[in-house]
Amino acid sequence: MGVGIEVTNLNAWYGTNHTLQDINLNIPANHATALIGPSGCGKSTFVRCLNRMHETNPIARVTGSVRIGDLDIYEGAKPVQIRRRVGMVFQRPNPFPTMSIYDNVASGLKLNGYSNKRVLDEIVEKSLKNSALWEEVKDDLKKKSGASLSGGQQQRLCIARALAVDPEVLLMDEPASALDPVSTSKIEDLIFQLKSQYTIVIVTHNMQQAARVAEKTGFFLNGRLVEFDSTHKIFTNPSDKRTEDYITGRFG
């Protein structure tokens, strides 16, 4: 089961660039929340603040608080621990090239020292089934390398890898933007299935995608959260004029 995320006065910088300004937001548990906005508006940065990946950049800085469930992720734990509970799927599929499909999915566990083979086998199978990849690869789990799959399959592999560590939250940064339409729709179906078990935050350029999969949507512009509401409302009757301009295509 997923947990909710409460963001309070979040500010983020890259060097002197004030990328996120005073973000306040409550992301509901077990829902899919979409974040939309034009390029460079800060939505990717925001999502990377939720699992403390933002600070892997040496000139990055964050103030404010993010609570995931009961846990304040900046004060209450170290980044490594947070990232085991908050999974991430990146824009371009990035399976580990030297590992087999099995090892890729199990990597989050094996590299953290887990070695119970029976449980690993179960988890790999379950994660691949959850990411709708099982049928296509079940015969080649240990023979094929992660990099030998097609783009869409690789991304589903990355989703399986993220799911294998049983996170409470799943962050997806434009997961389908590098994929063809068929793979995209497969991934959207996936998100639909998964959100009952996890809290999903998905960054997307594609407004139709947001409408298809997410219950709530947030609109970012120039580092600020302009509007956060139910998806239906955002796309049919937005409160803020800037939101309306964006969805109707006047800019972006």
Binding site: I5, D70, R84, E215
Partner: protein, 359 residues
């Protein structure tokens, strides 16, 4: 109502969860075994720290090596340095019996490094004189004129040349090059160019500065050529095309677009070659004649700094002898460091700080 692009039917039904979001009371759900395991893992702060420190130590070992060498060489040359000072490098003694200049007298513990400095400079510059035009010609051919199929094998061949150990070059030089010089090259040189004073052949063995210079040139050629090729091929095609579009011939294009843009890098390559020539030991030791004297003729025997160390170190006759040799080693170390540092700086300027090729 604003114009909408999304059909109503696509929206997700609003869930019954209140607006504020669930604050994380999971619904009657036992965390899985995996999750429990991962939650129990620490943050590896200690392991990360240790790893970081270990890697930094490895990185600092590079400085450690330099310091080690400097310390060792200074320690070993202290004796000679105290006795001779800077004069070690330019003093000229004289033989009491013949009154001829004498430089290196282990028996009487009189040491001057002048002949070795001279020999090093002469052989290195001779090597550059021969190698640079050839290397640049080769590099130009390979980058600008060579048909594609030939390029790979030729480049591979050049790489192999660079990988041959010095001692094998020396062996080949002693067996093939030196007799060749002795029989076919030196006599004509003496006959036709003897008036310059550079080609008097007093002891016709074929050994000497010329032999050293030639084998050195063969050895530094691949480095200069490969590096020049690299620099030349980074000149963007747009530059070449611009000049050609103005009606230049191919040579003019090379001169104006490629060589002009690459000249800093090419100079760096040449200096790197010089650095290699200065320190080259085995091949030179085998063909230079190992005579600690200074002669104007390129056909006379001589010695270089590296060669004298290789020849005499294992059987030095006294502590002072060892010390003198070590001092030569220290000087060689400092000179090659400076020359190489200069070359690396030039290459760095060209590549703008990206990691340079290890050669």
């Amino acid at each position: 109502m604003p114009e909408i692009r999304i059909s109503q039917s696509q929206f997700q039904p609003e869930s019954t969860t209140p607006e504020g979001g669930d604050r994380g009371r999971p619904v009657a759900h036992e965390p899985s075994e995996v999750r429990k395991y991962l939650l129990s893992r620490g943050n590896s702060a200690l392991a990360d720290r240790v790893f970081h420190v270990l890697m930094v130590v490895c990185g600092l070992s590079i400085f450690g090596i330099v310091l080690l060498i400097v310390y060792a060489l200074m320690l070993g040359s202290a004796l000679s340095w105290h006795k001779f000072g800077f004069g070690f490098f330019y003093k000229v003694f004289s033989d009491p019996v013949t009154n001829l200049p004498l430089f290196w007298d282990p028996v009487n513990a009189r040491f001057s490094a002048l002949p070795f400095v001279y020999g090093t400079l002469v052989s290195s510059f001779l090597a550059l004189l021969i190698a640079v035009p050839l290397a640049l010609g080769l590099a130009t051919f390979l980058t600008e004129m060579c048909p594609g199929a030939l390029r790979g094998p030729l480049a591979f061949l050049t790489e192999l040349l660079a990988a041959i150990p010095s001692v094998i070059y020396g062996f080949w030089a002693v067996t093939v090059l030196v007799p060749l010089l002795r029989v076919h090259v030196n006599p004509p040189l003496t006959r036709w160019l003897g008036w310059t004073g550079l080609f008097n052949n007093d002891n016709p063995t074929g050994l000497g500065y010329l032999a050293g210079g030639v084998i050195l040139s063969i050895m530094i050629l691949p480095i200069i050529s490969s590096l020049s090729r690299e620099v030349m091929s980074t000149v963007p095609h747009s530059q070449r095309e611009a000049v050609l579009a103005l009606g230049a011939t191919r040579w003019e294009m090379i001169r104006m677009a490629v060589l002009r843009n690459a000249r800093i890098g090419i100079v760096g390559a040449i200096i790197l070659g010089l650095g290699r020539a200065l320190g080259e030991t085995m091949a030179v030791a085998m063909v230079i004649g190992n005579t600690p004297e200074i002669h104007r003729s390129l056909l006379s025997n001589g010695s270089t700094m590296a060669a004298v160390i290789a020849n005499e170190y294992a059987e030095a006759v006294s502590d002072m002898h060892y010390s003198a040799l070590t001092e030569i080693g220290l000087a060689l170390f400092i000179v090659t460091i400076l020359v190489n540092a200069l070359a690396q700086l030039l290459m760095w300027v060209v590549t703008r700080g990206t990691p340079s090729q290890t050669r």
